[in-house]
């Protein structure tokens, strides 16, 4: 406080001197006083920056000495990245296996359906006594072939459905991995809060303004993602309001 008053006093004297110089037209002297005034201001600034830098340096050093932090940066976070990559790999593999099984099964189902339709038409003719003996012999062969085909396809379909079933095993494994990563994120969050505290910042959440250029990806319940639609009906309403 004492220092503050001293500085104020000096500045007041300098300001008076400046006015005096200007009034009698001593421009050179006036410039010198202005320079000195600016220097006082700069010195204050430098001292303040120096003090802040030292405080920050000490605080960060103290923070880094916390062994948990270095463990997180050197081990846990790289591990978490690996884990999450593995989640992507597993879910992708599962989707691939499922899709392959479905892609193999659909044509078999279509084939059986088509053949059953044709046979049913012939069978109806037979029941209405519209088939000759030769026609019936043909139908009988076709029926036998169809039954064999059904047997083969059923066993393939069974196998494909089992593949689809087993491909869902990723859910359990990825769930466990993701839960571990959530724990780590929680840990990091706590450390960051501590860091914000020691650097003297206030924990104020600025109103997050959503940037229209940033793609948000899928809507996640419970996460603020700006003005989003929640389902296809909303999309349709919005588009029709635009004249679609």
């Amino acid at each position: 406080m004492q220092e503050q008053t001293e500085t104020d006093q000096t500045r007041l004297e300098m300001a008076r001197a400046l006015v005096a110089h200007l009034e009698v037209g001593e421009n050179k002297d006036a410039d010198r006083v202005i320079g000195e005034l600016a220097e006082i201001k700069e010195n204050e600034l430098f001292t303040e920056v120096g003090r802040l830098t030292r405080e920050l340096h000490e605080a960060i050093n103290g923070f880094l000495l916390d062994s948990r932090v270095s463990e997180m940066t050197q081990v846990d976070i790289p591990d978490a990245k690996e884990r999450l990559n593995y989640v992507i790999t597993m879910t992708e593999q599962s989707a691939d296996r499922t899709l392959t099984a479905v892609e193999q099964s659909l044509p078999m189902v279509n084939e059986l359906e088509k053949q059953a339709d044709a046979l049913l038409a012939e069978w109806d003719k037979f029941r209405s006594r519209l088939l000759t003996k030769d026609d019936f012999r043909g139908l009988s062969d076709e029926l036998a072939a169809f039954l064999q085909q059904t047997q083969r396809h059923s066993s393939s379909l069974h196998e494909n459905l089992s593949t689809v079933l087993m491909a869902q095993d990723f859910q359990d494994l990825t769930g466990q991995i993701i839960r571990k990563v959530i724990d780590l994120v929680h840990d990091v969050e706590e450390k960051l809060v501590k860091l914000v505290r020691i650097t003297g910042g206030k924990l104020e959440v600025s109103n997050k303004i959503s940037d229209p250029a940033v793609l948000e990806g899928p809507v996640v319940p419970g996460i603020e993602q700006g003005d989003v639609v929640t389902n296809q009906d909303d999309v349709d309403d919005l588009l029709s309001s635009l004249g679609f």
Binding site: P212, L215, P218, D227, V235, L242
Partner: protein, 124 residues
């Protein structure tokens, strides 16, 4: 009817491809982003484009704009199938000239409805 499916995830391309096949559209090709899709569109005589929005390289909205800016492709019907659900983005796509917008996750029924609506309008 020749259709180009553009999505960076092969799983999603396969799902759309299978749904389209079920709807009777068997002539489909795939691209993993706008940069690969655009030359295919320019030379491939496609009748319809189904595109995701968020892709590395060239995004779906940029692809849509490139299509509309290309004299030969300007009239190509484009269906956006994307997880992006911000109102301003849907409006942006509409202003860029999209013909339909489906948000993921979607059902086979929704896809079919939007596609048939687009063709009704294009042919009608």
């Amino acid at each position: 009817m020749k259709i180009l499916i553009v999505d960076d995830f092969s799983t999603m391309r396969r799902i759309i491809k299978n749904l389209l096949r079920d709807l009777g559209f068997t002539n489909t090709q795939e691209a993993d982003d706008g940069t690969t899709a655009l030359p295919m569109l320019q030379t491939g005589n496609f009748d319809f484009l189904v595109s995701d929005w968020n892709m590395p390289g060239m995004t779906g909205i940029d692809l849509l704009r490139a299509v509309r800016a290309d004299a030969k492709l300007a009239g190509l019907p484009v269906l956006m199938v994307t997880a992006e659900s911000k109102r301003e983005q849907i409006i942006e796509a509409a202003q860029a000239g999209v013909n339909g917008y489906v948000v993921k996750p979607f059902t086979a029924g929704t896809l079919e409805e939007k596609i048939s609506k687009i063709f009704e309008r294009v042919e009608g």
